[in-house]
């Protein structure tokens, strides 16, 4: 009878999972003097109620018996195998072996068994096999716990030598017979794969930075680091970025011509108008007031340089190589006009002219910067240059 048949027979006999029953018999076989149910449940690694149920069934079929024991004045119950149970345990240990020897003779997994005389020295072989199995279980449990620590990021993934790990798995793989051992083997293999993945990720994320750079970075002043980081930042663009909402819509309407790289005119869409003043922008943290003042000052200097001889056209003044820069220049110019640092006045042909200095009479001038106008203006400039 093969071991699998024993497992199903035991399952039928006890009404419990055959694997748990087998494990209980294995443990009880190693404890001829008996063991308490609490200790037994911790050794088989199953909850006590399941173990108690399995024991109850085993008692009913006469494989296990219960005895009262006394230790340090305390009385407690121990369970141990009956004679029938011990016989079953012996059969379980040898069933596969006897069959494989009988059928194959040259089974490489158990080649060492050939040197044993089973009829005369069964006990010696049993002990030998148990020793190998126990050693293997111990090694595998160690590996699994080490791998688990790596996966919990407690230790470096490269602290585990995967080659010897796999070698060890190979060494013991053919010895495992019980379901528990095979499951443990599978778990160890799975952990090896996860550790390999962790090692790969570690290499993948490894930046070419010298060791101990974190402490050097830490020594740099926080504000200095902050400024430096800010200068390296290219803000992520989303439609929720408040100041760039118009640009977001223009971008979402982007339409590439299949033959040329010139973007087609986007369809006119109804846009919700959003008015933001400097206070709003500051409150939202979009602009830094100090930086903003610097930008205004630099724009004013540029305006003074460009209009030293005569005022220039407003659309030409705000035009920049990208739409976003154009919007920004228009936005900043509105502050120059509001503060009386620049003046807008109508020129000939419906053009709007800009020059530095304050207007005699304050007036409200409405201007708009749209993506369509920007494209038209860019095309016009290109033509002029040609």
């Amino acid at each position: 009878m093969r071991k699998a048949s024993f497992i199903s027979l035991l399952a039928k006999l006890t009404g419990e999972r055959g694997s748990l029953t087998l494990r209980i018999i294995d443990v009880l076989d190693q404890m001829p003097e008996g063991i308490s149910i609490t200790q037994l449940s911790s050794k088989v690694g199953s909850p006590q109620p399941s173990v108690s149920r399995a024991i109850k069934r085993l008692i009913e079929v006469g494989l296990v018996e219960v005895k009262r024991a006394r230790d340090r004045g305390k009385s407690f119950t121990i369970v141990r195998l009956t004679n029938a149970g011990e016989t079953l345990a012996l059969i379980l240990s040898y069933a596969d072996l006897l069959f494989s020897l009988y059928e194959k003779g040259e089974n490489p997994i158990l080649h060492h068994v050939k040197h044993l005389d089973l009829n005369e020295d069964v006990e010696e072989y049993k002990q030998h096999l148990d020793r190998i199995t126990l050693k293997g279980r111990f090694a595998l449990e160690n590996l699994i716990s080490l791998a688990a620590r790596i996966l919990r990021h407690e230790i470096d993934p490269f602290d585990l030598d995967l080659d010897s790990y796999i070698e060890l798995l190979k060494e013991y793989h053919d010895i495992w017979k019980s379901k528990e051992d095979l499951l443990m083997d599978a778990e160890a293999l799975l952990k090896a794969v996860k550790v390999l993945k962790a090692q790969r990720e570690r290499l993948f994320h490894e930046l070419k930075l010298p060791r101990g750079f974190a402490s050097v970075i830490e020594e740099t002043g926080e504000n200095k680091l902050g400024k430096k980081l800010l200068s390296h930042m290219s803000p992520v663009f989303t439609p929720n970025t408040p100041i760039y909402q118009g640009l977001a819509k223009a971008t979402a309407q982007l339409w590439l011509a299949p033959t040329a790289h010139v973007p087609k005119k986007p369809k006119t869409a109804e846009r919700a108008s959003i008015e933001l003043d400097l206070e709003d922008a500051r409150r939202m943290g979009v602009v830094d007031s100090k930086k903003f003042e610097e930008m205004l000052a630099s724009l004013l200097t540029e305006l003074r340089d460009k209009t030293s001889s005569s005022p220039i056209e407003y659309s030409e003044w705000i035009l920049a190589p990208t739409f976003i820069e154009t919007v920004n220049r228009a936005y900043l110019t509105s502050f120059l006009v509001k503060r009386g640092l620049a003046t807008l006045r109508p020129g000939g042909d419906g053009k709007l002219l800009i020059s530095p200095g304050s207007a005699e009479k304050p007036r409200v001038v409405l201007t708009s910067v749209t993506y369509e106008l920007w494209v038209e203006e860019m095309l016009r400039c290109k033509k002029i240059r040609k």
């Binding site: 990021h153 930046l207 050097v216 290219s234 803000p235 992520v236 977001a248 979009v286 602009v287």
Partner: protein, 173 residues
């Protein structure tokens, strides 16, 4: 080119705190010639002052041919505008924590991060800075551990940034 509009909308979308999309989603839209189409789109976006950034782990991928399905793509503003929703102290703290995370191989516990910041701040300030960095998507909290968030790798070329800082300090001089 309806697909371009779809890709741009996806690139600039936010899914909760997760920004950017994996290349696999681009492949699903563009099909076999996705590399060429993506390069064309990037070229067109550059005229609008935008740029597509590809990130593998903590690293930027400059070569479109080196993109893998798992590479994440982000839409960023082309030029730095010197503005951020974070304060300078928060940005400095972010740089320090990011350096420790990279050195530790990808993660550090939140307690460790707080200990690092405690050298400069009180416990409650350190905790509030970390919460703010997590809320903004610069750091990601997973099972009590802090990892570098997608927003930070998208907005900053970390390798370039740290090398710049180190170059200014004595270590590389």
């Amino acid at each position: 080119m309806q697909e371009n509009k779809k890709v741009v909308a996806m690139l600039s979308s936010e899914r909760g705190r997760k920004r950017g999309i994996p290349v696999s989603e681009i492949i699903a839209i563009y099909g076999e010639s996705w590399r060429e189409k993506l390069a064309e789109l990037d070229e067109a976006l550059q005229k609008l002052g935008l740029r597509i950034v590809a990130v593998n782990g903590y690293k930027r991928v400059a070569d479109w041919n080196a993109l893998k399905p798992s590479t994440r793509l982000f839409l960023v503003l082309q030029a730095s505008h010197g503005t951020s929703t974070l304060t300078l102290a928060e940005l400095g703290a972010l740089a320090i924590i990011a350096a420790h995370i990279i050195e530790a191989g990808g993660k550090i516990s939140e307690d460790r991060a707080i200990t690092i910041l405690r050298k400069r701040h009180t416990y409650s300030t350190a905790k509030s800075i970390i919460d703010s960095l997590i809320r903004e998507g610069y750091l990601v909290k997973s099972g009590g551990y802090l990892e570098i968030g997608g927003r930070l790798v998208a907005e900053v070329d970390l390798e370039k940034f740290f090398v710049d800082v180190l170059r200014e300090s004595s270590i590389l001089q």
